[in-house]
Amino acid sequence: MRLTINGQHHDIDASADMPLLWVLRDLVGLTGTKFGCGAALCGACTVHIDGVATRSCVLPASAVVGKQITTIEAIGGTPLGKKIQDAWVAEDVPQCGYCQSGQIMSATALLKTTPKPSNAEIDSAMNGNICRCGTYSRIRKAIHRAAEG
């Protein structure tokens, strides 16, 4: 199958049911997208499919043929993605950092549709992204900073 990942075509030899997460990580070598639960419970694997935040761990790769797949590796190439990453650095959000790829992908999708989110809007957009290190309040601050900047 042919996938369009970060604007580039990749010919992938995989079974139709193989989740996009493992295609990205183990076949394409894009390891920025993380494995946390494999069951759409934690958000670590969040990518954008045609701009929509999607859990790649339960998404068969065959379902996204012909769609635009964007990962953390490329999100900084967009002005919004860059602004969010800069806000993350300015607020020193990451602790262990493992959840942050997914957090940033969810935050970017949020700001795309809701440029000035309230705390409640942030909470509901980000509630699917677990952070075991407890960086939630800094994530909130960073989203506000990116929204203002």
């Binding site: 590796e73 020193d92 262990c96 950092g97």
Partner: protein
């Protein structure tokens, strides 16, 4: 400032060739808590860090600590940058390979735990920086032909003010490396610090915000294969029979291999390995724990604590106290999984020179020895490459080295490098939990309401029995491990008669330290029960504690700061209440005041005001994030966290039934630091113990219902108590 994750094999080689650069390694003066343990094992010349000044002015710090989110790379870089007089942006931080020179002073091991990352190495890092600075100044004195006293270091240069000449460190490094090492370089006065004590940005924020940070799971080696292991559903279980034909037929599966812990499925990618594992037909022979249940253990423990247990701490004459108001209560805490965000994993590459192990570990030395044992190699032939850790919380510091041992078994004789990956279900069900515990508390109050007598009897498993660490943490007189009763035997309240005893619990469940170790259990019991005493005495919870803490000025200052900032005693909106707890762990004292309400009958924590006494605050912003994180971690456990077993089988499996706190549940956390010039003390763990009792105490204030069992889902809280 950057971090470097260059190939560690290159680093090992280049460390042998210091040509053109200056290397400074410094041993750690024993300080604080570490000194207490120093007599246990005579250290081999310990060196806790290296500072390298290269000819091109690049400054590299090699830090033998695992970066798992606690900010150790940042905090230690601050100490060095200040003493060396270099600019923050000029420093690169690397993690160290395993070598004896990196051993901790109190145990001949490279280990990250005990909240000692920054605290334990702060003095050494300052000294490393100061030594390098002095050597560079001496080199400049030779070069310029002026006395060293006319020179000073600033912004990475040695400056001769009288002549205006300035020499970059890099040009001096080669000569400095030939000079004798000064033994006691003067350290800067704290008033001159430029970085220490400041909110310096983390060195790893950028790589961790762009997907570039390399975690264990991200290691990619030529021809790397991926494996998952089917493990017995009961601890100690074994394979009785195996039919792997269907698994072998899964596209991408390369090999099925029996290893001591179960059946490994090795494949071209993780998905094939997972599918292959599903297709295995395994009959398991149950382990010794096949009849075990946590509910039965709770009943057994409740009986045991009524019988005589090993007394580990006594004050006064407890049995002589016969009159007064008698209180008693039992506090129960469950098994807990660490559930770090990055599931466990370990990549192993057997090659001509031995074996390379790539993993995010907190315990390099132990893992290397275990890997060598399984591989049939000498430890020197095994190289451990520490990646960033996607959370540790204790799980990646296992004296049994379970995930490393297993990965070496899987890769051995396979013919290509293999990464063994744990799924989240493997992580939740694979053991090594914070132990379940029972705490029986009694107190006798005098007429003035103060306790005359306090007893605390625990039933809990030992964390280190049968491991190489057992001797170091076990009292030879009682045979009881210190980690079981820390926080109970060290209870700070001034009470004339005290007895703390431990029933050494036995259960077929592997256990391990979990963020704050014994304290996460004992603080819940001690801080809830002192609250019960205050209530029985009819005295305000903070005043009551203060009256019993007169001999503990750090506790008093911390409690007062928290109370002031939370406006303790002020009327809260209807349906809200405050609760307080204070606890010392890893030499730091943390007080937390939680503001709670009930939402649909369930506890909700709106705000937590924390005050922290941790000595010199090396980086207040890091401290704030560690306390926020520790509260989140402890609150997840207090509200929902529980591992239960029935018929030896773990009942939970993923984040649906072992739910961590999510963003909407995260309270607003305020962190206030008590100003101090004491030596820095631990910060990664001490924020966790007080949160459960602070919340339970607040819920009692709100509802009159006392939660004595965690998680709080076991207690039903009726709506707000009538006024």
């Amino acid at each position: 400032m950057t971090t470097s994750q260059s190939n560690r094999r290159d680093f090992i080689k280049s460390s042998g060739l210091a040509a053109g650069g200056l290397w400074v390694g410094v041993s750690l003066p024993l300080a604080g808590r570490l000194a207490e343990a120093a007599s246990v094992a005579a250290p081999p010349t310990p060196v806790t860090a290296f500072v390298k000044v290269a000819a091109d002015n690049q400054i590299t710090l090699i830090i033998p600590k695992s970066e798992m989110g606690q900010g150790v790379f940042t905090g230690l870089a601050q100490a060095v940058a200040d003493e060396l007089e270099v600019d923050w942006q000029k420093i690169t931080v690397e993690s160290a390979p395993v070598a004896e020179v990196y051993h901790l002073p109190f145990v001949p091991s490279q280990f990250t735990g005990g909240s000692s990352s920054i605290a334990g190495s702060f003095a050494a890092m300052r000294k490393a920086g100061a030594t390098a600075r002095l050597l560079l100044i001496h080199a400049a004195a030779d070069t310029l032909g002026v006395p060293a006293s006319e020179l000073q270091a600033e912004h990475g240069m040695v400056i001769h003010a009288a002549s205006g000449r300035r020499l970059p460190f890099g040009t001096l490094a080669a000569h400095a490396a030939t000079l004798p090492t000064p033994q006691d370089p003067p350290l800067k006065d704290p008033s001159q610090w430029r970085y220490i004590g400041k909110d310096m940005p983390r060195v790893d924020s950028r790589v961790k915000s762009t997907g570039k940070a390399l975690f264990g799971l991200d290691v990619r080696l030529p021809n790397l294969h991926f494996a998952v292991v089917a493990r017995a559903p009961t601890f100690g279980g074994r394979v009785a029979s195996l039919d792997s034909s269907a698994a072998k037929a899964v596209p991408g599966v390369i090999a099925i291999k029996e290893v001591p812990s179960g059946i490994a499925v090795i494949a071209k990618h993780t998905w094939a390995a997972l599918q292959g594992r599903k297709a295995l037909k395994v009959q398991w022979q149950d382990g010794a724990g096949a009849t075990f249940s946590t509910s039965q253990l709770a009943k057994d423990y409740a009986e045991k604590v009524k019988q005589s247990s090993m007394v580990v701490h006594t004050l006064g004459n407890p049995s002589a106290v016969t009159t007064g108001e008698h209180l008693e209560a039992d506090y129960v805490t469950p098994y807990l999984a660490h559930a770090p965000m990055e599931p466990l994993n370990c990549a192993v590459d057997f090659n001509a020179t031995g074996c390379d192990v790539y993993t995010g570990t907190q315990f390099q030395t132990g893992d290397r020895a275990a890997a060598a044992f399984v591989a049939g190699l000498n430890p020197e032939q095994v190289r451990i490459h520490t990646t960033y850790l996607g959370g540790g919380f204790g799980r990646r510091a296992n004296p049994a080295s379970d995930f490393v041992r297993e990965a070496v078994s899987v890769a051995k004789d396979f013919g290509a490098p293999v990464m063994t990956v744990w799924s989240r279900e493997d992580d939740i069900q694979g053991g090594y939990y914070r132990p379940q515990a029972h705490n029986r508390m009694t107190a006798t109050l005098a007429a003035d309401g103060k306790p005359l007598l306090w007893t605390h009897t625990q039933a809990v498993q030992s964390l280190t029995r049968g491991t190489p660490l057992e001797k170091m943490v076990t009292d030879p007189k009682t045979g009881v491990e210190r980690l079981q009763h820390e926080g109970a035997s060290t209870m700070p309240y001034q009470i004339p008669n005290v007895q703390v005893s431990v029933h050494d619990g036995r259960a077929p469940v592997p256990v391990l330290w979990w963020r704050s170790v014994g304290h996460s259990n004992t603080a819940f019991a001690v801080e809830s029960f002192i609250d019960e005493c205050a209530h029985a005495a009819g005295i305000d919870a903070i005043s009551y504690r203060e009256a019993l803490l007169a001999e503990h000025p750090r506790h008093l200052a911390t409690l007062k700061l928290a109370a002031d900032k939370a406006q303790w005693g002020k009327k809260l909106p209807a349906g809200r209440a405050h609760g307080v707890a204070i606890h010392e762990a890893f030499n730091s004292v943390v007080a937390e005041i939680a503001e709670v309400s009930l939402v649909d009958g369930r506890p909700h924590v709106h705000r937590v005001v924390a005050a922290v006494h941790c000595g010199i605050a090396v980086n207040p912003r890091l401290i704030e994030s560690q306390i926020e994180g520790a509260i989140c971690y402890g609150l997840s456990a207090a509200l929902f966290g529980e591992i239960t077993l029935e018929e030896g089988r773990v009942q939970q499996s993923n984040f649906n039934d072992y739910p961590p706190l999510r963003m909407a549940e995260m309270p607003a956390v305020e962190v206030h630091i008590v100003p101090s010039t004491d030596y820095p003390s631990g910060i990664g763990e001490p924020g966790t113990p007080p949160i459960a009792p602070a919340v339970a105490n607040a819920l009692f204030a709100l509802t009159g219902i006392r939660a004595r069992r965690l998680p709080l889902t076991h207690t039903s809280f009726s709506p707000t108590k009538p006024a």
